[in-house]
């Protein structure tokens, strides 16, 4: 069966009616319409992340890491040299003292982090589960750039660009350390 035939079948499936919901559904939804709707808070993405997807800590971590990523994309070698970024980094390290919190943050953040990387997101590798926070040699996350080199975020949230060989060395070092 070719793509066109599958698309035609999907088109037919679209025309197939779904059995309707119970009549009360619309009524029930309307019953829950509030008297007033909350005003715009100013931070769309963050609010939605907080309210719908993940915990506040993870949302905050994602926001901070996004700032680091953007700072890095703007051409800064050391994305944590500004005070606000330095403070954010310390804050994350403070949160991560508790392993349970760290695990939750890493688990919840991994998918969102992947979504935040602007290019070739399918190829992002993330090692949140095994990286110790603050470890400047451990590779937390990397992805391949157009020029064949790799953009890397280390465990201490420093951002760097490595060649394939350098990345391999960094990962071997990280694994050796783990085995030791």
């Amino acid at each position: 069966m070719d793509d066109e035939k599958v698309k035609k079948l999907l088109h037919k499936l679209r025309g197939v009616s779904i059995p309707p919901s119970r009549k009360e559904l619309a009524y029930k939804i309307k019953e829950n319409i509030p008297e007033a709707f909350p005003r715009h808070k100013g931070l769309d993405t963050i609010s939605i992340i907080i309210d719908l997807r993940i915990s506040r800590l993870a949302a905050a971590a994602v926001v901070v890491i996004t700032m680091l990523l953007f700072a890095s994309f703007l051409g800064r070698e050391n994305a944590t040299s500004d005070n606000i970024l330095e403070d954010s980094k310390m804050l994350i390290q403070y949160w991560f003292r508790d392993n349970k919190v760290k695990d939750n943050v890493f688990r919840d953040s991994s998918n969102l982090l992947r979504n935040l990387v602007p290019e070739n997101r399918e190829n992002v590798q993330y090692f949140g589960q095994i990286v110790e926070p603050g470890d400047s040699e451990a590779v937390l996350m990397y992805w391949k750039m157009d020029d064949g080199r790799y953009q890397v975020i280390f465990g201490d949230l420093q951002v760097g660009t490595l060649t394939a060989d350098e990345l391999l060395q960094a990962q071997s070092k990280m694994l050796n350390k783990r085995v030791d």
């Binding site: 599958v6 079948l9 999907l10 499936l13 559904l25 829950n32 609010s47 939605i48 719908l52 997101r121």
Partner: protein, 202 residues
């Protein structure tokens, strides 16, 4: 030549009608949003009438039972009321509502990880009555629906949102919070899975 002219004239007219229809829809969405933001509950009820069946159908097509789909549709609207103040662009209303619905669905899946969340037996669709002509087609549609429901979520979502719910690539990618390129590649991979599975059943 005359025929060609008549066709172009007809197409231009049709384009104009579609353009006017889209424009009217956007204007009505904008005024609807403004009224909702001003606390008009009747406008919110209008929004429910426009979208609740679409969202319910989306949940059913994702493979949830009718009870769960109703529950998730209600939760979607609760989230909409909570966040509608954040939506500034009325043109994005459609994709934004689907984005909220997709998030609600993903949250449900996360909460019920490891448990069976979709049930093929539950999804009874209103196929046309089997007659000689329709027997093969109906069987193919049943098979397609079954494969679709069992597909990995990330492919299932794009196929359903684009081909069954009718969102275009741009709206669909915004609704799922992914890049257009990723959306297209998932569509292709999803189609490949369907092609393969349907082929193996032939």
């Amino acid at each position: 030549m005359m025929e060609q002219k008549a066709i172009s004239k007809h197409l231009l007219k049709r384009q104009k009608v579609i353009g006017e229809h889209v424009e009217k829809e956007l204007i009505s969405y904008e005024s609807l949003l403004t009224r909702i933001r001003n606390g008009n509950r009747a406008a919110a009820a209008e929004l429910v009438d426009i979208f609740y069946m679409q969202i319910y159908a989306y949940m059913r097509r994702l493979g949830y039972s009718s009870e769960v789909s109703e529950d998730l549709t209600q939760q979607t609207f609760l989230q909409i009321w909570q966040h509608i103040g954040q939506l500034r662009n009325s043109k994005a209303l459609n994709s934004w509502i689907y984005k909220v619905a997709s998030n609600v669905s993903r949250l449900y899946l996360r909460k019920h990880k490891g448990k069976q969340t979709v049930n093929i037996e539950d999804v009874v669709l209103g196929y046309e009555k089997d007659n000689e002509e329709n027997v093969v087609l109906n069987e193919q549609l049943r098979q397609l629906n079954k494969i679709l429901i069992q597909m990995p979520v990330k492919f299932k979502e794009v196929i359903i949102i684009h081909y069954l719910q009718g969102l275009n690539i741009s709206e669909g990618s915004r609704a799922l919070g992914i890049l257009e390129g990723t959306f297209k590649s998932r569509l292709n991979r999803g189609l490949k899975i369907l092609r393969k599975e349907l082929g193996s059943g032939e």
